[in-house]
Symmetry: none
């Protein structure tokens, strides 16, 4: 199996950062390009179609968040993952970043090992088609195709339903509050009515059976692993 190197675009206004990242990523065999502001990043991304874009949050002119929003609109880049780079792990920026559609987040100062690890796991997914599949035994949830598989039967889910299920299934057992669900599936800058989540939950239960998703009243919902009997 021959594989083309994963293409990475680094976007930062500080040449030092670009240099150090480029050095480290080159060494790992990635195909690395760079840009020093948001506008150029968009140009280059269109031409180059990188697999991964590493985007500094703070840049003059067009900041990373704006740039990200623009990038997300470009259909050629629909398979491109975006990793944000920012000075601090402020919740705040993270909220804004994920609203804009970031896939991951790294804080400065960048530890090359951490970045490389994230990148290699993302690029594995891209190459090996090891893709975003959650395998929960009885049920498989595949983010590439927005399909779930129950007892070898494929069911296709609409986007919101899928994302909701994907979120819950990403941490079986964990209770997700409504707020958390709202923030992760709908984003923090969108408002929908109270019953919207319930309706989606209802539809999911209709399709995948109602044992899978449990309500914890006053707290949230959780995905329940099928309990083995003793």
């Amino acid at each position: 199996m021959k594989k083309l190197p994963t293409k990475i675009l680094i976007v930062d206004d500080e040449p030092d950062i670009i240099e150090i990242l480029k050095y480290n990523l080159d060494k790992e065999g990635y195909d690395v390009k760079s840009a020093n502001n948001g506008k150029k990043a968009i140009e280059k991304a269109k031409k180059y179609i990188p697999d991964i874009i590493i985007l500094d949050v703070m840049m003059p002119e067009m900041d990373g968040i704006e740039a990200c929003e623009e990038l997300k609109k470009i259909s050629k880049l629909s398979n491109t993952r975006i990793i944000f780079l920012s000075a601090r792990g402020e919740d705040f920026t993270q909220i804004a970043a994920f609203d804009a559609g970031a896939d991951d987040y790294v804080t400065k100062p960048v530890k090359p090992k951490i970045l490389i690890k994230k990148i290699s796991s993302i690029s594995k997914r891209i190459n090996n088609n090891l893709s975003n599949v959650l395998d929960l035994g009885d049920i498989k949830v595949d983010k590439e195709s927005y399909l779930i598989t129950i007892n070898k039967e494929d069911i296709s889910l609409p986007r919101k339903e899928f994302e909701l299920l994907y979120l819950l299934a990403s941490k079986p057992g964990k209770v997700f509050s409504r707020d958390e669900i709202m923030a992760k599936v709908w984003g923090t800058q969108v408002i929908v009515g109270d019953r919207t989540i319930d309706v989606h939950i209802r539809k999911l239960r209709e399709k995948i059976g109602d044992k899978c998703i449990k309500t914890v009243k006053g707290v949230g919902y959780k995905f329940k692993l099928n309990v083995k009997k003793k």
Copy 2:
């Protein structure tokens, strides 16, 4: 059961903004005060001890960031959350400045519904700051899944019961007074009758055995580790 309104302080130099926010928040039943600059904000905050401060980033004299840093130094305000108000784009490059310790942000023009949503989720969070999994040997208390485990058997508890147990179990041996329990489990903004706690204690004892929780008459309750006899 009675609920005291959440106290909010709005700080902005534009009277129009204050007015529109005040109008919307009043309508929701919040207790709203306002200030038109950073200095006054600090004065009023000291006196009024709001639960939430909505702070415009850009103001003459003392801007929101400075004000936030000052506010964070005031110990009486340690439980006060701060929401920044900023114009989109303009401010995102200055995100580094938000080291100041904001809890959330809203962009102008403000959509009242979004603001209200954020406020309600923050005020929920204020009362919910207990962390995650307690392992007491015989018994495990897992806040992530709202489950407790006794002898490898999972028991799911309703919210209040769970939180009550979680509180007691967080410091085995320590006696928690009723006041303390009220404040931590119900929050300072809710008033319920005297017998409510007892009833929850009763239900807990029913489910986890009555050796675990001990009454110290006139003082409170404590969680007791099971001492194994020989």
